[in-house]
Symmetry: C2
Subunit: 306 residues, 2 copies
């Protein structure tokens, strides 16, 4: 039976490359594994796969009747639908421990590093399987992307060390140039509908029993989205109106290292509780905030009393 290795909803570079890399490792260990993803690729991920010669993985959104391995997530909200009607074989992730449970023991491996790619590098090493050059290339891209070229507070020494080794294997001489190429692809907003921008890197969370959505747009310069700010706000309002208590859109300036946080909420006071600053109109600038996982989710969880 085919095993689907699959990343989270709203696929990003880490979740797609992790699926490809782990399916490859599992295949070389004798498992009939294929990579899958839950939706269309974002422009950055498309660029990364093109650059290293991979085509997009098969789209799978329903786990019923399937054997699956989850990468880069471990909670039901981000997993394929009907996970309970499929069989969960493994989880490999670098996020908080969520609400996935099983009836028997499985391989479940999460680590507080900046990127699932760093863990996959380790798993190749531990299993004594050589990483193909093109797989090393996409894992390198994933780590550079998730750690915003080592600037994110989620970045660890292990991530940096993995990048050094992966760059050698992939034959990448200039990591910075590769990162800038990705950031430019990621910042592409021209002609993209506002809702697609909001959903480009979007996740729903359960916070104290309330449904809370958080999207993030990483930009080399916030001026790139000045013309579409009103449209983005409308999109946030629409998604909020669809049964959510709050929706946040992180407009993250990669170069200035901070986030302009756009908020639509039934209780905007959570913003001050979480970040110590009041909304200035529709957004609030949070200096130094680069990481949803490490700097947005935990204080919001706390503010929501979760």
């Amino acid at each position: 039976m085919t095993v689907y290795v699959i990343g989270h909803k709203s696929p990003d570079t880490d979740s797609v490359t992790a699926a490809i890399a782990y399916a490859g490792l599992k295949k070389s260990l004798g498992m009939d594994a294929v990579a899958a993803c839950q939706g269309e690729l974002n422009p950055e991920t498309q660029m990364v796969l093109d650059k290293f010669g991979f085509s997009a993985p098969e789209i799978v959104t329903d786990a019923a009747g399937k054997q699956v391995i989850l990468v880069d997530h471990g909670d039901l909200a981000q997993a394929p639908d009907n996970l309970a009607d499929g069989e969960l074989l493994e989880v490999v992730d670098h996020h908080k421990i969520g609400d996935v449970s099983t009836n028997g023991p499985i391989f479940f491996y999460t680590k507080p590093v900046g990127c699932t790619g760093t863990i996959l590098k380790e798993l190749y090493d531990v299993n004594k399987v050589d990483i193909p050059a093109n797989v090393a290339g996409i894992l390198l891209c994933a780590i550079l992307s998730d750690t915003v070229m080592f600037k994110s507070p989620t970045c660890t020494d292990e991530d940096k060390k993995a990048c050094d080794e992966l760059a050698k294997t992939a034959g990448v001489a200039d990591m910075e140039a590769l990162a800038m190429e990705m950031f430019k692809a990621k910042s592409a907003v021209d002609g993209v509908p506002a809702k697609d921008l909001l959903f480009r890197d979007y996740k729903d969370f359960d916070m104290g029993g309330k449904k809370v959505g958080i999207g993030q747009l990483e930009l080399v310069d916030l001026s790139l989205i000045e013309d579409v700010r009103d449209d983005l706000y409308k999109a946030v309002e629409e998604v909020k109106a669809d049964g959510r208590h709050s929706v946040f859109l992180m407009l993250t300036d990669i170069m200035k290292e901070g986030t302009d946080l756009m908020v639509v909420s039934d209780d905007p006071s959570v913003v001050e509780k979480a970040f110590g600053k009041k909304l200035e109109g529709k957004t609030v600038w949070v200096d130094g905030m680069m990481s949803r996982k490490k700097q947005a989710v935990p204080p919001l969880q706390e503010a929501f009393g979760a």
Copy 2:
């Protein structure tokens, strides 16, 4: 701040030795870690620690205000009380994925092997820390105990390989003799109150919203408990009456490789649903059943619709 490495309630040999071994590893990696356990040692564990020169770990039952690492369990029912008021740093386990959740990413490592000791052997190796001979000795005992000397269906090739290597490090020439010494200590029932026997290796589970308790007594011969069967049944009834839907006591015959399952339940039909056999009076013999985790919990979860 001291970090407490702690096993599950009703401590057994794996949970106590895992706490000692992992605290030792963490200490040699620079963490101020100490082993703890949640109650008195059972006779087998006492024998194992005595044999290899360890004293009993500190008893800790409340996690409030403490930094903790959980070993050999990953669900709240078996964790120290008030875990939410402490800080969970890591989980290392070989059971099903339970209900522990966190606000940020942590090191969470579970694997479908027969014993946490096998995972700890791997973690020493991965971290390139030599296992002290006496630590190797107690981990070897834990694996022999959890896998019932490789007879349990939970036992994997990895467990056997770990035992071979640990036996060399510990200087144990005859694994079988060591296992029999433990089994005899474990089978000691003379003069022990029935309720203590029931709680010697006991766990509560949430099954489809119902509280279900499962104890296990591993015996070299069921004749050892013939005289106390009625007292055991009374103890099971009392624990059941204390807010539980069902309580099961597995009277496992290590040599005959099967379990006489004692049952007190609001709905005894779950027994037939789970094991395909009706109760014969107060118990039912389930041939081949050695492992609570692999052979009792999953079919019961299923029967309870969890």
